[in-house]
Every structure is written in C-alpha cells, then in structure tokens.
Point group: C2
Chain length 211, copies 2
C-alpha cells in the first residue's frame, strides 16, 4: 500500500527510466520486471552489461503459481523485507525463509554445507511447485538446482539473482542453461532488492491479468 | 554468525575486491566500510562514480553510540533484514522501523506526507542520540534533516544512502553539506544492502576496538 505521494514518486521514477533506457530487447512481459529492478537499484546495467535472462515459461509459470497460492521460499530475510506484503496476503502465498532458524547452524556444520544451502534443503516441500527466490547466496541457488536434479522438487519458478564475487556468476550461468523456469542475470551484480523487485513486478502483472 | 564455509567465501570475496580496486582515497576507517558495500553490491562505482562521503566525525560517533546501546532507526524493514542480528543483540541496540505500522498510513495522509516521512517523525525519541539509517526513501532522509533543523533531535550518526531517480541525489547532496555526522554517497545508487553493509562494517570496527 502506498500513499498518493508515494505513488507519484514511483510514477515519475518510471518515466525517467523510460526516457533514459533507449533501445532494449525485452518483450512486453519482461520489460516491466527489468524496469522495476532499475527502479530499485538506479542501475541501468541490468538491461545491459548485467542483463536479465528469462526462461520462456518463467513469467507465466510464476504468475500462475502465485495465483494458485504457492509458497515463496527465499534465501535471506532481506528479500521478504523489501517485498510488498499485501500481495502474498491477498493471494495466500506463504513466505518462507529458514536462514535464521537456530537449528540450521548445527545441521549445516554437520553436513559441511553453508547455512544457505541447508535453508533450501529443509524447505523441500515448499520449493516443490513453489517460487524460489535467491537474492544473496549462490550456494542456495546451486543447492536448489541439485535438488531438482535429484528429482526431489519441481519449482514453478526459480528467481536466481545472487550478488557477489564467489560463485554468483557461475551459479547464474548454470541456472540459465537448465530447463527450470528461471529468471536470472549475467554477471556479479544482483541482490535482494533485485529479487524482491522481480516478485513485486510479477504480482503487478498478475493483478493486471497478464500471464 | 557464519559457518566456516560462509566465512571462507567472505574472505575470498574481500581478497578479490582488494586485488581489483586499484587506488582510492579512503582512509583506514573508511575503506572497510566502502569495501563491505562493494562486497554487498558487486559494484565498484561506490568507490568511484557513486563514491561514499564521510563526515569527519561520522565513524567515531557512530561506533561510540552503538557501543553505548543507542537505538537504530531505519526507513525500511529491508535494512534490518540484511543486518547481522547478533551485533545489536550484543550491544543492546534497539532496531526500529515504523514503516509498516498500520496507523502510519492514516496519519501520513492527513499530514500530506509520505509514510517514510511519518515513520521518522514518530521515532523522534529514538533518533535523538541514535543512529538513523535511510536506505530507500529520500523523503525519510529529508525529514530527519528537517527534524534536526527544528532542534528536535541530534542524531549521533545519519547514514543516508537512499537509491532512486526522484530526490535521492538531492537529499544526499543536502546531507553532505550539513554538520550532522553523516555517511552518504554521490548519485542515484544506494539502497538497503548498502545501508546494512555500513552498519555491519561499523560493528566490525567496534569489535576490533577501533574508534
């Protein structure tokens, strides 16, 4: 929910982005998503050097799953913190982030995994048919891909847009070569504001009846 | 708290940043803060085009206030979501974010303010002597500066690093010309990962006994 003033600021921002973006190759479902990322980061690289990549079924799959009340599993609380909470409330989507679960530290140590990896393992039930959103930890993204390969889960959509210097590029490159419905990007940049912008934009498309 | 594997990934990232940064003008207290922002965003612009700016007393003031158990007031929950929670727990810092308070919408409308502005107004007591962290809303930052001008509050530190196309640049430019102890940056970029990176880095300096 926004005040009228807040909405005016958003509208003006979107107009500035439209006037500065120049030519791009995104289609009419992809562009509102990329535009919202640029709005959240003030970084046009997400349409250029760090370009977004969309699996052909990603947007429609994601929208349908959200509409049908799927769970949303995130790697960090920051993704949830930046989401518009009215959306999951209205469509009955559970928001799940296990990273701060006190028991996770111990089980991660035992398994020689990062907490981020373990936080995905324990969300197996919700990931299956759900929307996975990785904004921070490449290891979480790699773990979800591994769970798909093991035949344990079939997510409706994997948003994989971790940021960083170690494994982020590689994990996103790997995701972009799978047939998992994905939204990802090229390069090191990304992060939870990008991840939540994608989810907020998907809900906007859903409310507009686009899928 | 991190697993050993998580710490290794962080160490490797920091080494990559050190090897790629080249020459810069930050001093030995500023650089760990800038480096952590680059670590969180994979964006070297925060040392260049969108350079961080530090008031001369900002870091020492911030560290001292945190050590003495001040409150931390943020504009969005995303900043809190990305913070290492063990730190405020250990040093007794209350984390305050009023943006989702249901009563805020109504009072903001009445006052013709954004929710972000109103969320700062209602935190007057905690802002006085506290650390303010604005990662998203320029209007929140402008409101805090207004509250200082009105003589209502004297924050120990204002971290003003909102992102965006409308008023972000101007609000940060204005902050950088005040004598409020500030950490801010040039340009449109910024956001809650930058904001929380700054706070996490301040706690790290505090734990190292630097101030």
């Amino acid at each position: 929910m926004q005040t009228r003033k807040g909405q005016e600021i958003e509208d003006e921002s979107m107009q500035i982005i439209e006037s500065e973006i120049g030519s791009h190759t995104f289609n009419e479902m992809e562009w509102p998503i990329v535009r919202r990322i640029i709005h959240s980061t003030a970084d046009f690289d997400f349409a250029r050097e760090n370009k977004l990549l969309f699996h052909k079924d990603a947007i429609s799959n994601g929208i349908n799953a959200l509409k049908n009340g799927c769970s949303i599993v995130t790697d960090v609380n920051g993704v949830i913190g930046l989401m518009n909470k009215q959306n999951p409330k209205d469509f009955g989507n559970n928001l799940i982030c296990n990273i701060s679960d006190p028991s996770l530290m111990e089980s991660a140590k035992k398994a020689g995994k990062t907490r981020a990896q373990m936080s995905m393992r324990v969300a197996e039930k919700e990931i299956d048919g759900g929307v996975v959103v990785v904004g921070n930890a490449p290891t979480a993204l790699l773990e979800v891909m591994e769970m798909v390969r093991e035949g344990l889960v079939k997510p409706a959509l994997v948003v994989g847009i971790p940021v960083g210097f170690v494994s982020a590029v590689e994990s996103k490159d790997e995701l972009s070569k799978t047939d998992i419905p994905f939204i990802t990007n090229i390069g090191r940049k990304g992060g939870s504001p990008c991840a939540s912008a994608i989810i907020n934009a998907l809900y906007k498309l859903l409310r507009q009846g686009i899928n």
